[in-house]
C-alpha cells in the first residue's frame, strides 16, 4: 500500500446545464502523503472546494466526475452511497469554511459530535460521551461538560470551529479535509487553530488537506502546497521550495500581490486580467492571458508537468527544470 492517503489523478469535474457547462476541474492531479499537511491555495473559484467535495464523493448527481480519486487506497468515483458511507467519517473527515452554518442549530453540539462518532464507530453511549469530552479537551474547549450541552448559537466562531475539529478527531480518520476552516475567523483565533492543528498532526499522525487562499497560512501550517488555477494544480511542492522559489508565473505573481508587514513599496503588484470563464474550453495554458512571461506556445499547447526540484512540479512551458516525459501525456490536451 502506498503512503498516499489521498491521491487524485486527472480529475475532471463538469457541471452540465443547458445554459452552459461549467468545466470546474480540469485534469487536476494531487496527493497527500500520510502524516503531512498539504495546502491547497488558489483564488476564489479556482476549484478548491469542488476538488475537496469530489474527494468525499459529495458532489451529488448534478456533477459529472471523471478521473481517479483514492482515499486510503479506496476508489471514490462511481461508488455507491453505501460504500462511500464506509469511508466517510471512518477514513476521512471534513471541516467546512463557515463553522456557524456547518452545525445544526437545533441540536446541542455535543450530541452532534457524539452522533458522528457513534455513526462511525461501534461503542456504548457512555464510552462515546467520554471520548467526546476528551476530544473537546484536546481541542481546548473550555469546560467540555458545559460545551457539550451548548447549542451552536451559544458559542463563538472559534469555539464552533474547534467543535468541528473535535468532531473530526473523535472519528479518528486518516485524512482530514479542511476547506478554508479559518477564513471566517479573526487572526488571533486563526492562529489558535493553526497551532492546534499542528499539534494534533504531530500527536495523532493525521494527514490534512488544508484549503485556503491565504499564502501566509500555508507558510505557517503546511508541509507541501499545491497551487490551483482555473481548475487545475499549476504548481506543487514543499512549502519551503514553492514559496521561496516559485516556478510558475502564477505562483510568483500571487505572492507579489500580498502586502506583507514591513513592506514599504510604493505600488503593490497585481495580476492583470481575469480568471478564465470555466464554461469555455481552454486551449493552451489557462494562465497565458495574464502571464508576463507568455510565449507563443503557451496559447497553443497545454503545458506539461515538469519537475523543477526533487518534489516540486510545475505546469508551465517556461518553468526551468527537466520535463518529466511520462507526465506529458497525462497532463496533456483537454
Amino acid at each position: 500500500m502506498s503512503d498516499k492517503v489521498l491521491e487524485i489523478r486527472n480529475l475532471n469535474v463538469t457541471f452540465p446545464s443547458l445554459e452552459r457547462n461549467v468545466h470546474a476541474i480540469r485534469n487536476c492531479t494531487l496527493h497527500v502523503n500520510r502524516g503531512e499537511i498539504l495546502g491547497l491555495v488558489g483564488e476564489s473559484g479556482s476549484g478548491k472546494s469542488v476538488t475537496s467535495m469530489a474527494a468525499l464523493g459529495l458532489l451529488g448527481s448534478s456533477a459529472r466526475v471523471k478521473g481517479n480519486i483514492r482515499v486510503v487506497g479506496r476508489e471514490i468515483i462511481d461508488r455507491s452511497e453505501a460504500e462511500l458511507q464506509e469511508i466517510r467519517g471512518r477514513k476521512v473527515a471534513m471541516i467546512f469554511q463557515n463553522p456557524f452554518t456547518a452545525l445544526n442549530p437545533f441540536f446541542q453540539v455535543g450530541r452532534q459530535v457524539m452522533d458522528a462518532l457513534l455513526n462511525s464507530h461501534f461503542m456504548s453511549k457512555e464510552e462515546a460521551r467520554k471520548r467526546v469530552f476528551q476530544a473537546f479537551k484536546d481541542v481546548r474547549l473550555p469546560d467540555p461538560e458545559i460545551a457539550f450541552n451548548r447549542y451552536p448559537h451559544q458559542m463563538s466562531g472559534g469555539q464552533l470551529q474547534r467543535v468541528m475539529i473535535a468532531m473530526a478527531l473523535v472519528c479518528e480518520p486518516e485524512l482530514l479535509i479542511a476547506d478554508e476552516p479559518t477564513t471566517a475567523l479573526d487572526v488571533t483565533v486563526q492562529a489558535q487553530i493553526i497551532l492546534l492543528l499542528r499539534e494534533l498532526v504531530a500527536k495523532k499522525n493525521l494527514s490534512i488537506l488544508f484549503i485556503t487562499h491565504d499564502l501566509g497560512v500555508v507558510a505557517a501550517l503546511c508541509d507541501r502546497v499545491a497551487v490551483m488555477y482555473a481548475g487545475m494544480v499549476v504548481e506543487s511542492g514543499p512549502v519551503v521550495d514553492v514559496l521561496a522559489t516559485p516556478s510558475h508565473p502564477y505562483t510568483s505573481a500571487l505572492m507579489k500581490t500580498v502586502p506583507a508587514l514591513g513592506q514599504t513599496k510604493d505600488d503593490l503588484s497585481y495580476i492583470p486580467g481575469q480568471v478564465p470563464d470555466m464554461s469555455v474550453p481552454i486551449i493552451g495554458c489557462a494562465f497565458a492571458e495574464r502571464c508576463t512571461k507568455v510565449s507563443e506556445v503557451c496559447h497553443k499547447q497545454a503545458p506539461p508537468r515538469r519537475a523543477v526540484l526533487t518534489d516540486q512540479f510545475s505546469f508551465c512551458h517556461n518553468a526551468s527544470g527537466p520535463v518529466a516525459l511520462d507526465e506529458i501525456v497525462a497532463g496533456g490536451r483537454l
Partner: protein, 295 residues
C-alpha cells in the same frame, strides 16, 4: 491608468436572454404548458363574442339539459343555455376577479409593507399589528363577514377578498424591504445624501417587487378559487354575470344526474387555476432562484 488594462467583464459569463428563455422552456415544460393554457384563456376571454356558438344567456327550454354533443360541446344547462359558451364567457369574469383582487390587495398591502419595513420601529409595529388583525380571521371567513355586511355581489366579494388578502403583501414586502434595508446599497445611498422617500421608491421597492409579484402570481389562482367559493355559497357573483363557481352552484341540484352541468365549469376553474399556478411557479423559479429544483 495602465494598471487597469484588460479589466473587462467577460460577456460570455452573462448568457443572453434568448438563451435563458430557451433554457427555461426546456427545463420547465410545465411552465410553458401553464403559460400556454393561460394565454388561451386570456384569448378566449378577449374574443369570447367571436368564439362562442351561442348567446351565453340565451334560454331555450327545448334544449335543456342536453348531454355534450357536437352542437353543444359541453351540453346545456337546466335552462337550455349552451354551457360551452358560458364557460368561455366565464373566463372574462375569472380574469377580472383575479386582476382586481390582486390589484386592490397590492395597492393596500405594498405601501404598508414598504413603510413598515423601511421605517421599522413603531411605524412597523403599528402597521404590522393592523395587518395581523386581518390575518387573524381564518381565510374566507373575513370575506364572508364583509360581504354579509356590505351585501352579496361580485364587486363586494372582490373587495372583501382583497381586504382579507392585503396583509400577505404587506408582510412580504415588509420582509424583503427589511432584508434589503440591511443591504449595504441602502446605507450607501443614505451616505450619499439620498432622501428616505427616494430610497423607498427607487431602491427598496424595485428590489421587493419580485417576491410580491411571485406571491401575486401564486395568489391569482387562489383568488379565483375563493371567489368561486363565495359564489358557490351564494354571496359572490349574481346572474347575469357568468361566473364558473356560480354555474356550479346553479347546477348543484342536477349534477348527480347531469354531470356536465357542474363538471365543465368546475373543470374550467381547475384548468385555469392549474395553468396560473404552473405559471406562478415558473415565474417564481425564474425570479427567485432559491426554489429552483435540483442543485
Amino acid at each position: 491608468m495602465s494598471s487597469l488594462d484588460g479589466f473587462q467583464a467577460n460577456p460570455a459569463l452573462q448568457p443572453s436572454w434568448t438563451r435563458r428563455i430557451s433554457h427555461f422552456a426546456s427545463t420547465n415544460t410545465l411552465l410553458f404548458v401553464g403559460g400556454g393554457i393561460f394565454l388561451l384563456i386570456i384569448l378566449a376571454a378577449l374574443f369570447a363574442p367571436w368564439i362562442v356558438p351561442f348567446e351565453p344567456n340565451k334560454i331555450d327550454f327545448s334544449h335543456k339539459l342536453l348531454a355534450p354533443s357536437l352542437e353543444h360541446l359541453m351540453g346545456t344547462d337546466a335552462l337550455g343555455r349552451d354551457i360551452f359558451s358560458r364557460v368561455v364567457y366565464g373566463a372574462q369574469t375569472s380574469l377580472i376577479i383575479g386582476i382586481t383582487v390582486l390589484a386592490i390587495s397590492m395597492a393596500i398591502g405594498v405601501p404598508i409593507g414598504l413603510a413598515a419595513g423601511y421605517f421599522g420601529g413603531k411605524v412597523d409595529m403599528l402597521l404590522m399589528r393592523i395587518s395581523d388583525i386581518f390575518l387573524a380571521f381564518p381565510p374566507l371567513l373575513l370575506p364572508i363577514a364583509i360581504t354579509a355586511a356590505l351585501g352579496a355581489g361580485l364587486f363586494n366579494a372582490m373587495l372583501a377578498l382583497a381586504i382579507s388578502w392585503f396583509p400577505w403583501y404587506a408582510r412580504i414586502v415588509r420582509g424583503s424591504v427589511m432584508a434589503i434595508r440591511k443591504e449595504l446599497y441602502i446605507d450607501a445611498a443614505r451616505a450619499m445624501g439620498v432622501g428616505s422617500l427616494r430610497i423607498m421608491f427607487r431602491h427598496a421597492l424595485p428590489n421587493s417587487w419580485t417576491p410580491a409579484i411571485v406571491q401575486g402570481s401564486m395568489d391569482f389562482g387562489y383568488t379565483i378559487l375563493a371567489a368561486a367559493s363565495l359564489s358557490f355559497i351564494g354571496i359572490g357573483a349574481k346572474p347575469p354575470t357568468i361566473e364558473w363557481g356560480l354555474m356550479v352552484a346553479l347546477s348543484r341540484s342536477k349534477f348527480l344526474d347531469y354531470w356536465w352541468t357542474a363538471a365543465f365549469p368546475g373543470l374550467a376553474i381547475f384548468v385555469t387555476v392549474l395553468a396560473v399556478n404552473l405559471l406562478g411557479d415558473g415565474i417564481r423559479d425564474m425570479l427567485d432562484p432559491k426554489y429552483r429544483s435540483g442543485r
